[in-house]
């Protein structure tokens, strides 16, 4: 179990993280969500024992990060946004070295290595020199180093950033699979990413925790699931009508009307209880009514909207 109480970090006079308090149950997957500069990476670095806090405490399974840093670090695996890799080493040698450095015996590492390689999809690449691997596989090696010593807490900073869509799907599956055995804390500035992967959302804004809870908790508080853009072919007014009656939809508008035979853009505001399910439902309705759908994307300002709504709801509560 991870318990964070009043965590604060200043870089000189600049406050990066302010009075964060939350707890994560064993086996849960929690996601730090926030815009760039919200303090996600700083908070993760403190939790990983890489940085020390200015104030507050972090306890991993009851052990304090500041009081007993070396003991805590044994039970933490950390993957920063850029995977830290000794590129001249082979995958196997690299993982063996880190396993031993984190307190495992030689036989223990040898016994665990095959399962870690398999879990991260690296079984066929164990003897390859790391610098010859693609970015996607380097990220996998990064995750493998974070779990080689079987830590109770795995911290992953933006694990899907820089990956192509296929790699993102695989990485999401991999992260999802870590839950249960490990408590997992990931960070992202992609709302959908975190929602699809995490049991608990921790939303950071300007170094502060602006909301926390499950996806449903957050959406019930702000009342909407955000906006999605759909590129459709055919009669755009009829397409809008075909989704307007769905329970998942609260608002539909034509945001770009093309000429005859061209693509039109519909922007749909979701009700927000099961976002990926709702998107599937809308695509199904459009295709079922005979419209072609060539693009589905979260509206680019969705996260900003969400934070504005959260800030608005905080003011209203205040």
């Amino acid at each position: 179990m991870i318990e964070v109480d009043g965590l604060t970090k200043y870089y000189g006079d600049i406050r990066a993280v302010s009075d964060l308090s939350f707890s994560i149950e064993r086996g849960q997957i929690a996601g730090f969500l926030g815009l760039n500069g919200a303090g996600k990476s700083t908070a993760l670095k403190i939790l990983a024992g890489f940085l020390l806090p200015t104030a507050g405490s972090v306890r991993v399974d009851g052990v304090d990060v500041v009081a007993e840093p070396e003991k805590v670090r044994r039970s933490i695996g950390f993957l920063p946004e850029e995977p830290p890799l000794y590129k001249e080493m082979t995958v196997r040698a690299f993982l063996t070295y880190l396993g031993k450095l984190r307190g495992m015996g030689g036989a223990e590492v040898s016994a665990r290595l095959p399962s870690v390689l398999e879990r991260t999809g690296l079984s066929q690449h164990g003897d390859r020199v790391i610098e010859t691997l693609s970015l996607g596989y380097r990220k996998r090696v990064g995750i493998a180093q974070a779990i080689i010593h079987d830590p109770s807490l795995v911290i992953l900073d933006e694990p899907v950033s820089g990956l192509d869509p296929l790699q993102r799907v695989e990485m999401r599956k991999l992260v999802r699979g870590l839950g249960g055995d490990h408590t997992v804390l990931i960070s992202s500035h992609n709302l959908l990413e975190v929602e699809e992967t995490c049991d608990l959302l921790l939303m950071l804004g300007d170094g502060r925790l602006v909301a926390q809870g499950s996806e449903a908790d957050i959406h019930s508080r702000i009342g909407t699931g955000g906006s999605y853009e759909f590129d459709v072919r055919g009669d755009v007014a009829a397409a809008a009508d075909s989704v307007r009656g769905l329970d998942a939809v609260t608002e539909v508008s034509v945001t770009r009307a093309g000429g005859e035979g061209e693509v039109h853009e519909l922007t749909v505001v979701l009700a927000g209880q099961d976002r990926s399910g709702e998107v599937e439902q809308i695509v199904g309705a459009l295709v079922g009514s005979g419209f072609g759908v060539s693009r589905v994307e979260a509206a680019s300002n969705e996260l900003e909207d969400l934070f504005l709504k959260l800030a608005g709801s905080q003011e209203a509560e205040g």
Binding site: A48, F50, F78, P80, P84, Y86, K100, L101
Partner: protein, 241 residues
């Protein structure tokens, strides 16, 4: 101890797997060979002990250069590549990291020194050399190597640029050899302190001539400890930044 041994093993592996260790070792040994041939042996006849003294004289300079070059990458490269996080989030303490890093460079310097042994052996074959003289000189070089690699490890901890690290290390190493000049213009008791801090005249000269003084062993060991302590403090301070 286990963490130190693991860090030493990885760092030594990095020297051997990459080009830098081989290039530095080859360059130093080549220069040492040229200097031995041109200056120590020279054109005229010399006593074997004089040849050895000249060999140890420039070998000390070569050891300083090798130490600074080998240690420049130790921490700066990890910070540049973002891999320092692997060590700083491991259970290894800052002391163990500092010692492991330093020890790997020192061991590599010792390997270079070992490879240079053929030169005194050539003098022994063709002349008359007291083994104690060779031992004394190499003990001095070993201690200079320890102190200089600790100094290099410290400068490497200050920056993420290997160039800055080697320039800082070079300046500090050069200063350690010209302290006697400053001592000449300083007033007591500062002059005595500056003279004591000189790597060559006050300490290595005795080793070079075949004399071992405990005070010089203590001096080089203290300098080594001092720079390792500074390195450990720098590593610790970075966690607060």
């Amino acid at each position: 101890m286990r963490a130190i041994a693991l860090i030493v093993g990885r760092e030594l592996g990095a020297y051997f797997r990459g080009w830098s260790g081989w290039v530095i070792a080859a360059g130093i040994l080549m220069l040492q060979g040229v200097l031995f041939n041109v200056f120590a042996l020279g054109d005229s006849e010399k006593l074997s002990s004089k040849v050895l003294q000249d060999f140890f004289y420039f070998s000390m300079g070569m050891t300083l250069v090798a130490s600074v070059l080998l240690s420049m990458r130790l921490i700066a490269e990890e910070r540049h590549d973002g891999t320092m996080v692997l060590l700083l989030t491991s259970p290894a303490s800052d002391w163990q990291i500092a010692i492991g890093k330093w020890m790997s460079a020192w061991i590599f310097v010792l390997l270079i020194l070992l490879a240079s042994l053929y030169m005194p052996l050539m003098v022994a074959v063709n002349g008359s050399v007291h083994p104690g003289h060779v031992f004394s000189g190499y003990l001095g070089l070993t201690l200079v190597g320890a102190a200089a690699t600790a100094l290099g490890t410290f400068t490497s901890s200050l920056t993420s640029s290997q160039v800055v690290s080697v320039v800082l290390g070079g300046i500090l190493a050069a200063l350690t050899c010209v302290m006697w000049l400053f001592s000449k213009v300083a007033s007591p008791p500062l002059d005595e302190l500056l003279a004591y801090l000189d790597f060559y005249y006050r300490h290595f000269q005795d080793f070079r001539e075949g004399t071992i003084h405990t005070r010089s062993i203590v001096f080089y060991s203290s300098v080594t400890f001092f720079f390792l302590l500074l390195t450990q403090k720098v590593l610790g301070a970075r966690r607060w930044r």
